[in-house]
Structures are given as C-alpha cells and as structure tokens.
Amino acid sequence: MSEKTGAIEVAAKSASITEMENWLINRVAEHLSMDSEKISIHEELVLYGLDSMSAIMISGDIEEKLNVELPSTTLWDYPTIHDIMLFLKDKM
C-alpha cells in the first residue's frame, strides 16, 4: 500500500467513524424521543432514561448497520456513546 493510499484509507475510516457516531446519536435520540443535539457522547445513556431492553435493541441496530456480530449486552457494558464508539472502532 502506498503512503497516499494509506492516508486516503485512514481519512475514509475517520469519516465513516464520524458518520457512525452521528448515526448512533440519532438512533439513541429516536429511542429517547429527544433532540439529538442534547445528547452528549460522554454522558451515560441510562441517565437519559434508556432502559435495558432498548439498549439491547440499539445493539441490534448497530449489528445491522455494520453487518457485524455483537454481544446483545454491548450497551450495558459500554454505557456512553464515546465508549461504544471506542469498542466499535476495530470492527469498522
């Protein structure tokens, strides 16, 4: 892989991570009936009122979006969007 190609791939991955993060914020906002701008990626989602079953369903949404297998309890173990994105980074 040339240096240029590598840089393009890094940039593409970075863009897709940002896109994924925005998608996740919107998905969570839909579940919570909240304005997505009011969701901080560093706040625990349970504090916004996300219940355990909805957290499992969002994990299912992520699986579909990324076409990957995730533990159903992913959002139980990674309680903020920031934590989830760190976990997902390697899978994207």
Binding site: H31, D51, M53, I56, G60, S72, T73, P79
Partner: protein, 594 residues
Amino acid sequence: MSVDIIKIQRPTIFDRLVAVEELEEFLKSPFDESSVVSFKKSAELDENEIFPYQEIEELHKWRYNEYYIPKQLGGKLKSFEELLFLTRSISRRDLSISITDAHTLLGALPVWIAGSEEQKQELAKEIRNSRSACLAVTERSHGSDLNANGVCAVKTDDNTNYLLTGEKWPINKATLSDILCVLAKTNDKKDSRSLSILMVDKEKLSPDTYAYQPKINTLGIKGCDISGIVFNKAVLSKNMLVGKEGAGLEITLKGFQITRTLCAGLSLGAVDTALRTTLNFVLKRQLYGKTVFDIQHSRHTLAKIFIDIISCDCLAIASSRGLHEITSQFSVWSAIVKNYIPQKVEQSIHELSVILGSRFYFRDDHDHGVFQKMMRDNSIISLFDGSTIINKHSLSLQLKFLAKKRAKSTGIELEKTLENIFSLNKEVSDIDYNKLDLFSKGNNIVLQGIEFALSKLGNLKGKNSVSPKTLSEILNLTIDLISNLMDLENKVDKLPVVESGHNLETEYFDLAQSYCKLHTAATSVFMWVYNQEELGEYFSKGEWLVLSLQRTLDSFTIYKKELDKEYLENTAKHLLTLHTEGKLFSITPFQLSN
C-alpha cells in the same frame, strides 16, 4: 405406510420419556383418595391453607428433585421435553405442589447458567438432599422494574464478604426454602450492570440477620408459602457471588427464558384436569333424556377446547425441545409461550366452566371441587416469571428485527434444525446454557422456515393416511398463514420507532399478539409434517390440524372459517377415547394412572 400400521405402532416418545408413565404409576390416580396426591387431600389442604409437605416428601422419595439437577452434575435433568411432561403430570393433580416444588429449579438456574463449578456441585448436592431453593427477585415497590431494586449487597472493607440488606417480597418459598438466589444491587447506579446474583444458604446465616414477612393470603395456590424475607447486613462470603458482579440482570432474564417455557407444563396440567372433570360430568349428567355429551353443541364445544389444548401442546413440546436446539432464539420463543399458553388455557377453562354449569362453582361435591381449585390456582401462571404483558412487550421490541431477518431467509438451510426440533423420534441435543441470549437477532426458525413447510406438505400428496381434501385444506391454511405473516411484517415496517421505556404504541402489542398466533399455528404445521405417520391415526389424518389452524388463525383473513362438523365429530370421538382409556390430552397421549 398403511393406516393399519399407523394404528398399532407405539410412538417412540413413550419409550424415550419412560419416566412420565413411571411417575404416573407411582402417584396413582388423583381421583383415588388413597393416592400420593389425591384431589380430596389437595382440596383439604387448600381449604385450610396448609403447605403440601407430605406430598412433596413423597415426590422426593421418587427422586423427583433430581430432575432439577443437570445430568452432567449427576442429576436426572437430561431434557426440558421430559421435564415438561413430568410437570404436566404433577400439575394435573395439584398446581400448589408443582408451582412450589418447581421453584427449586428457578432458584437453581442462575447457578446452572453462570455459577462456578464449586457452586454447581454444592447446589446439586443440596437439592439431591431434598433441600429446596427459590429465586428472590421481586420487591414490594418495584414489581417488574428490576433495575429499580433496593436490596443491596455491599462489599466489606477487607473485600472478603458481602453484607446483604433489604426486603424481597412477595417470593414463592421465601420462608420455607433453604437456599435463595437473591438479585441485589452491587453498586449505586441504576443501570443494567448494577445487579448481581448471590446464593444465600440460610443455614450459614446468623439468625439475627434475617427475618420473614408473613405468608400472604392468596386467591389460589392457598397452601403455598408466598411470603417475604428481610435481610439486615447478612454476611455472605464473596464466593457466593454467582457469575460476575453486575451480571445479575442478564442471568435472571436468561433463567426466565427456561422457566417461562416450562410454565406451559403448569397450564397444560391444569387444563387437562379441568377438561377431564368436565367430561366426567357431561358423560353422566342426564338432560332431556340424554347425556350432556350427547348434545351436539356441548360435544362440539368440548372438541374445540380439545383442539385449542392440542395447539398449545404442539407449541409447548416444540419449545421444550427448541430450548436444546435453538437456545439463542428463546428471548422470542419463551415470550411467545408465556404470552400465549396461559392465556389460552385461562380461556379454555372459562369455556369449560360454562359447560360444567353450577358444578364449576362448588368447592366440594363433583370430584372434590377440583375444577374451581384448578381455575383459581391456574390464574397465577400468567402472572409470574414475567406477566403476559411483560412478555408481549419483550416480543414487541423484537418484531422489526424478526420481520427483516425473515425476509432474507429461504428456509431450506434450516431443514436439519427444524427436523431436530420437531421430529419426536429424535432425542434432543444437550443444552448449552452459554447459548442463551437476551436478543434473538431477528431469528425465529419456525416462521423463517414456514415456506419450507409447504414443500413438505406437497410431499404428502398421494399418501393413504391423509385424504386429498384434508391435505388441500392444510395447504390452503398454511398459505393463508404465510400471507398473514407477510401482511403483519408490512405493518411492523410502518410502525413508529420504539421508544425507550414502557410507552410502546398499542399497535406493537396487538401485532405481538398476532405474531404469537402465527408462530403457534406454524408449530402445529411442522409438528404434523415431521410426525405425520408416527403418532397414531387421529394425528395422522390431519383433521385436527385443519381445525387447529382455523381456530388459531380465527382473527385473521383465512379462506375458510367454518369448522367442518365431521372433523369436530371425529375429534369428539378421539377425545372420548382418550378420556375412557385414561390418557393425557396431548398429541403424545401418555398413559395416566386410573
């Protein structure tokens, strides 16, 4: 295979599950006042709200308690299919006994699912010695909102023990159990990882660190110990933590997937007796110069109730086997079973009460008033281990995933697994508790594979054992099933996004209810195609399946809603034969004690 051969074959399930008829022989007929569990004695215990100590002791002499211990730990629990039928056998006698005793399994499941090897061996030894267990989850102020639990387990400063404090109420066997698995908070958060399971052996607690709340007076299962327990800094070794800290909710919900499935055995046992005692009455009772059974409307009503029982029977048997074969799908399957069967049985018992007339209301007289006792006792089943509405909610959340995933499935690749679930000649695989999952990821093999059932049905053309008319009706109804399923999936696709919390749109619950019916209908179709020549002539002819699909899919658009009178008459005849010969009301009519 000719019809004559079908008649004389003994289905292999009777030999595979030989313990069922052995237990029946041991217990003798419940109509016999000298039997281990008689309706007469059960009525007396119930009237006086006395716990069935003696009956449970007798049951354990037969080593019934070992069916709560996996065979890998030296117990007798090799399949949930077997346990389902054993549960039916006890439940048809007295639900107080089965609900009380089976709670030991619920109390033990967290350990079987997530416990250490040492905990498993220790608990297996205790249960083998007839010590009983229970699961303590519910709290007075929080109901099914488990994350709001207040009972807490705080680590001591030296990190060697937990101090358990708080009240669990109402709990089945809170007072009389020896060992409890307690769901407790192990941190101050209110998230899904703040709860843990701790195994509590009362013998190891200091008596001044726990106390009981009195037995609650209840509508049914009046002799049972439904009470509470309060801990006050009860000291537990950290070795009593089951699984990891924070895994409590996950373990509890996984355990419920198994017990919700087995609840079918409680309901089906109850309705077996309700139907049997009604038949005892209608076959003797003379009205206008003939018996009540001779009156067409009564006879056909009984036949319809029998058909509903058989639909539940198919669902229950398939699910008890499915636990072994498609364990990861049980967030969906167990919710369907727990939603559908107790509700349907409540409805059937109510319909039977209309036929039984005033006798249903008597607390003695006809068969020691067992009908009203079963009716009262049975009403708890739809409530515990997650109520009907909780299960419908849980299913509702997964509908979109189920609809999307099914669209991608052809069904053909599922053939081997479908055969393992539905072919009752086959032993099930060993269950792997690690495969239990809180989310089925859109998978439900029965509805994913339903198109495959059509080709299996097509293969039955030309068989002597089923008439072309009946087969054609089954095919048409199965096509209707698929068409209604696709219609439901379209509706699911248009639903608003699920909101967090419990404010789901009503449409979600309605569609979940419809989904349960479609799933139940599909299990009946598969049960027939995989065992068509194995379970006797009545089963083989498939008339029951036509009636079953018509009844189960009654609320949908289907090509023919009117029930065939000849099929109903043949069903009534079969029902009468099972009753006369003292056999279980099931597609697998085990011989009962008479």
